[in-house]
Amino acid sequence: MAKTILIIDDRETIRTSLADVLAESGYRVLEAATGEEGLEKAREEKPDLMVVDTAMPGIDGHEVCRQIKEIERLPIKVLIYTGALSAINPLKAKRAGADDYIVKGLSPLNLIEAIEKLI
């Protein structure tokens, strides 16, 4: 069965382009535009992996991760990513319980590589 991946990012262009690439790689892809929406979908769909952007209005990526890992203790892998130089903070992601952390460049290659390592 195809593994399920949930993408949480408030920027639609990035979300959809990432979703397209992952769908092409054979994954079942879910999308969420906010942290709240993402948590809800995570509880309902129990994806194998969540790919979460750090900077979002409302509940940010780190908080989503903490909720899943520490509070609800769901068996979901979490990959946190950021795209901005000023926002690079892997230690914060680690403390939130993330399984991996990636800086996303123009090419999604390294992100997909990291996803494949996790699931």
């Binding site: 950021t82 130089l85 690079i88 892997p90 230690l91 680690k94 952390y101 800086v103 390294n110």
Partner: protein
């Protein structure tokens, strides 16, 4: 007791985890920065490529536009010259409008071409040593009719003497033309334009101030940006293209200079640009390197000749700073007079004049050096004893593969120019000494010198003799002289070599003067002859 080691172990484990986390984080950060950096580089390349495409596009389009415009201009002129038929007043007005706008379009396209060439890095300054005051005066005189027509008072405040600076004269002329043209355009009748050139410590500062319309403070930054024409109410004179100042800025910056503007709306503007004064050493190096760079492509050559004054300090003491400076200027002038090609040039560096001969082969350089030596000898007659001048030549790529090596090579080959004493214009030693002298020239068909009155001594020094002779003697010929000095029974035998022979003066008996340098002569004998003749 047993709990303590356990606590410690836990602490150690926690610290180990913390350390591992931090190491992991720093590795992740590094990876992330690398990715972003690569992205930036890629984007930068793309932008450069786009910029290049844009410049190419402008260059091609502008060029294509020029051709039909030229045709339009020709036919508009034919109509305006009334060749097809007489024009009515209205027709003339319309044709003039057409012509004016064609001209404007041509200017615009030329400026566009200029700026696209500059931006694509295709325009390299052809630097040479330039006196900015002379250059500015030239431009000012070209504007004189316009200045007079508007009754504008023009003040030129030039800080002279101004050292030459190493710039492209054509580009600098364009800068002056643009700035003075602007000042003139925006200044009303009976206004004032002040042009200043000041000699600052590390740079030359030029400024062009006017009493024109001025610029509002919020617009000052926009002045040097392309196509920004501020407050351009249709005024008198030609309409601009909005590119003049942008080009001017590029031209100044191309020379590592800076340009800025000070202005008050309604009062006037002042454009100030500075150009660095490079040390002459750097200038020579850059100059030679530039010429070599150009020569590389064509597989051509370059020679340099260094003219240097040895023991400069001693000469300075004897002759004084002013005189020495004059001598260097003279040497430079002499060098310039020996040039045969327009590209030949000189650069002065402290106690040296470097002659640069692009495209000159080793043989050419040798010929120039010989001409130079002759010219300098003549010049040195007045200065013998007070100064010693050396010449050294080197050729690229025969003897060096870069500018620095070439210069050093020339310097290691310096040779003193020998000026025979006989060639001095010394007045005190001009007396003729009436003693018998015999000259034997080996290999000559008949020994012309058997007669006692074939030659006479003019003067003598430690190194040679000056003779009056009946014939012109060939330089380089070795000879022996048998000289009977007063109060001496035995004649003195001297060997020498002819350095020069020239017809000087109107002496009928001895029309030629000949310089001889002693060879194989002990210094005591030389001294004895010198002393004897001096007495």
């Amino acid at each position: 007791m047993s709990t303590k080691p356990k606590e410690l172990q836990e602490k150690i484990a926690a610290l180990k985890k913390e350390l591992a986390d931090r190491e992991w984080a720093s590795r992740k950060t590094e990876e992330g920065i690398k990715i972003l950096y690569e992205d930036l580089e890629k984007k930068n390349e793309e932008l450069k490529e786009l910029d290049r495409l844009k410049s190419d596009f402008i260059a091609i389009v502008s060029h294509e536009l020029r051709t039909p415009l030229a045709t339009m201009k020709v036919f508009a002129s034919i109509i305006s010259d009334e060749i097809p038929g007489e024009l009515t007043k209205d027709q003339r007005e319309y044709v003039d409008i057409i012509k004016g706008n064609i001209d404007r379009l041509v200017r615009l396209i030329n400026n566009l071409l200029d700026i696209s060439k500059i931006e694509s890095g295709k325009v390299l300054p052809r630097k040479t040593l330039v006196n900015m005051v002379n250059l500015a005066n030239g431009i000012i005189s070209a504007f004189k009719p316009e200045i007079d027509a508007k009754h504008i008072e023009l003040k030129a405040l030039f800080n002279t003497p101004l050292p030459d600076i190493y710039v492209d004269p054509d580009k600098m002329a364009q800068v002056f033309t643009n700035l003075i043209g602007n000042a003139l355009k925006f200044t009303k009748e009976y206004g004032k334009i002040i042009i200043e050139i000041a000699n600052k410590k590390k740079m030359i500062e030029c400024s062009i101030a006017d009493t024109g319309i001025g610029v509002a403070p919020e617009n000052l930054d926009k002045l040097f940006i392309r196509f920004q024409q501020i407050n351009r109410a249709a005024g008198p004179g030609a309409r601009g293209t909005g590119l003049g100042l942008a080009i001017t800025k590029e031209l100044v910056e191309m020379h590592n200079g800076k340009i800025r503007v000070e202005s008050k709306l309604g009062k006037g503007s002042k454009f100030i640009f500075t150009l660095p004064k490079l040390s002459s050493k750097i200038v020579i190096k850059e100059y030679v390197d530039n010429v070599i760079k150009e020569a590389m492509g064509k597989g051509a050559r370059l020679s340099i000749i260094v003219i240097s004054i040895s023991d400069f300090r001693r000469s300075l003491k004897i002759l004084g700073r002013k005189r020495m400076r004059g001598i260097l200027t003279d040497l430079e002038e002499i060098a310039q007079k020996t040039f045969r090609r327009a590209t030949d040039t000189t650069v002065r560096h402290r106690t040296e004049v470097v002659v640069i001969l692009p495209e000159a082969k080793k043989e050419d350089a040798f010929a120039v050096k010989n001409r130079l030596e002759e010219a300098i000898k003549e010049y040195m007659e007045d200065l013998t004893g007070k100064i010693r001048i050396n010449l050294g030549a080197a050729t690229f790529p025969d003897e060096a593969d870069n500018g620095e090596v070439l210069i050093n090579k020339a310097k290691t080959q310096l040779e003193a120019i020998y000026v025979g004493l006989e060639r001095r214009k010394s007045k005190t030693r001009r007396k003729r000494i009436g003693i018998g002298i015999k000259i034997g020239i080996p290999g000559a068909r008949k020994n012309r010198s058997s007669k006692l009155d074939y030659a006479a001594i003019r003067d003598s020094g430690e190194k040679g003799l000056g003779l009056y002779t009946k014939d012109k003697l060939k330089p380089g010929t070795k000879l022996s002289i048998s000289m009977r000095l007063p109060f001496q029974k035995e004649p003195l035998k001297i060997k020498g070599v002819i350095i020069w022979s020239k017809k000087i003066g109107k002496n009928k008996k001895f029309p030629y003067r000949t310089g001889i340098r002693f060879v194989e002569l002990s210094s005591e004998v030389k001294k004895a002859i010198f002393e004897l003749i001096k007495s």
